[in-house]
């Protein structure tokens, strides 16, 4: 019964089908713009790219407490990671820098004792790498810091850990809440690109690929 009845419903399916296709067509027209290349006029902090990464807990030779140094003692990130504004790599601070303070401060703590041991043996601390980009990627800390920190007059005057850390946090997460660093951002190309689009970074492949 059903078969024959439906056979009689002559043109309806055609209308329905056409309607659906036209709606789809309209949807394509109405597709929203995703790439907004115009950067905001004044940037304090990078518009952080979206995405998260479930990073592993990395066992470091010394469990370095970023939170104590930054959140409690209010030491500026760039005080230790001093190469970041001068080179493409941010760099791990040399042991001499640690010892600059820790030859007098908190010398009795077990972590500091560990550190002193390395220092006395004249061995560099074998830190494990947490954040890395592939070798075919050219990433410079100095230019990113220039754009987000040093090109911003207001910030230069009162450069403190609380003004610098949010900039670093765009890629490294907020280290004020971590002990040892943990990778919590995906650091993938799409992630980089989304940030470049939002903040007006270069869209040229060769800006980043070498």
């Amino acid at each position: 019964m059903r078969w024959i009845q439906l056979d009689r419903a002559k043109r309806e399916p055609a209308r329905q089908g056409c309607g659906a296709l036209l709606v789809a067509l309209a949807l394509v027209w109405a597709m929203p713009a995703s790439a907004d290349t115009a950067a905001p006029a004044s940037i304090k902090y990078p518009v952080a790219p979206e995405g998260a990464h479930a990073g592993k807990d990395v066992a470091q030779p010394i469990e370095f407490p970023h939170d104590i140094h930054t959140a409690v003692n209010k030491i500026n990130c760039l005080y230790c990671h001093t190469y970041a504004r001068r080179s493409k790599v941010a760099g791990i601070p040399p042991t001499s820098k640690c010892m600059g303070c820790h030859s007098v401060i908190a010398t009795d703590k077990p972590r500091i004792k560990q550190l002193t041991e390395y220092w006395e043996k004249k061995q560099p601390v074998p830190w494990k790498k947490v954040h890395d980009v592939p070798d075919f990627v050219h990433f410079t800390h100095e230019k990113h810091l220039k754009k987000f920190i040093f090109d911003n007059d207001e910030l230069v005057q009162n450069l403190s850990v609380d003004t610098v850390a949010p900039v670093c946090a765009a890629c490294h997460g907020d280290l004020r809440t971590m002990t040892v660093a943990k990778k919590i951002k995906p650091m993938t190309m799409g992630w980089c690109v989304s940030c470049h689009e939002k903040n007006g970074g270069p869209g040229d492949c060769w800006a980043c690929h070498k």
Partner: protein, 176 residues
């Protein structure tokens, strides 16, 4: 009246089947119109279809819309992809290149047309489905079947009509 019965007559050749349908058309069975007739056959046969009368087919509208969608949609899609992928400046050519986009849209028009034709076919022919309950395997061999949906009262006259046209086999069932 409610149609409650279904009956299948199998015929040995198209002439008989055609004549049977013409008889039905001529209202040999009261209350049964040609719209209640389904013909099942191993090959397509224009004569019989003529007897059944005009039953419009809508698949071409699907094809048209699908082709159009493929053409316009893919052009917009490709052009907007090019417009937001600015590494595209190449070989001194414009970002949105009409020639290549035309080639691709052309292909996509065909793909859209073909796919929507398929959809049209499936929708129009109500496929996929289970085979008809009265379906006989002889139809796929060499016999032609006529399925009628009937009221109880029309059964006998239908059978008679079939027999008049040298029906080879009659099957019937009660519709649920």
């Amino acid at each position: 009246m409610k149609k409650t019965r279904r009956i299948l007559g199998l015929f040995g050749n198209f002439d008989e089947a055609t004549n049977a349908i013409y008889d039905i058309r001529a209202s040999k069975i009261a209350g049964l119109s040609v719209d209640d007739v389904t013909l099942i056959s191993p090959i397509e046969h224009p004569d019989v279809e003529e007897a059944l009368g005009d039953r419009p087919v809508s698949v071409q509208y699907f094809t048209f819309c699908g082709g159009l969608f493929g053409l316009v949609g893919s052009w917009l899609w490709i052009a907007s992809a090019q417009a937001s992928f600015l590494v595209q400046p190449q070989g001194g050519k414009p970002v949105v290149t009409l020639v290549s986009n035309f080639v691709l849209s052309y292909e996509m028009m065909i793909l859209g047309g073909v796919l929507s034709t398929l959809i049209g076919l499936l929708i129009g022919a109500r496929l996929p489905s289970r085979p008809h309950t009265l379906y006989s395997e002889k139809v796929s061999l060499d016999q032609i079947g006529i399925i009628l949906e009937l009221e109880d009262t029309q059964i006998e006259s239908a059978k008679n009509l079939f027999r008049n046209h040298r029906v080879l086999e009659i099957r019937e069932e009660v519709m649920k």
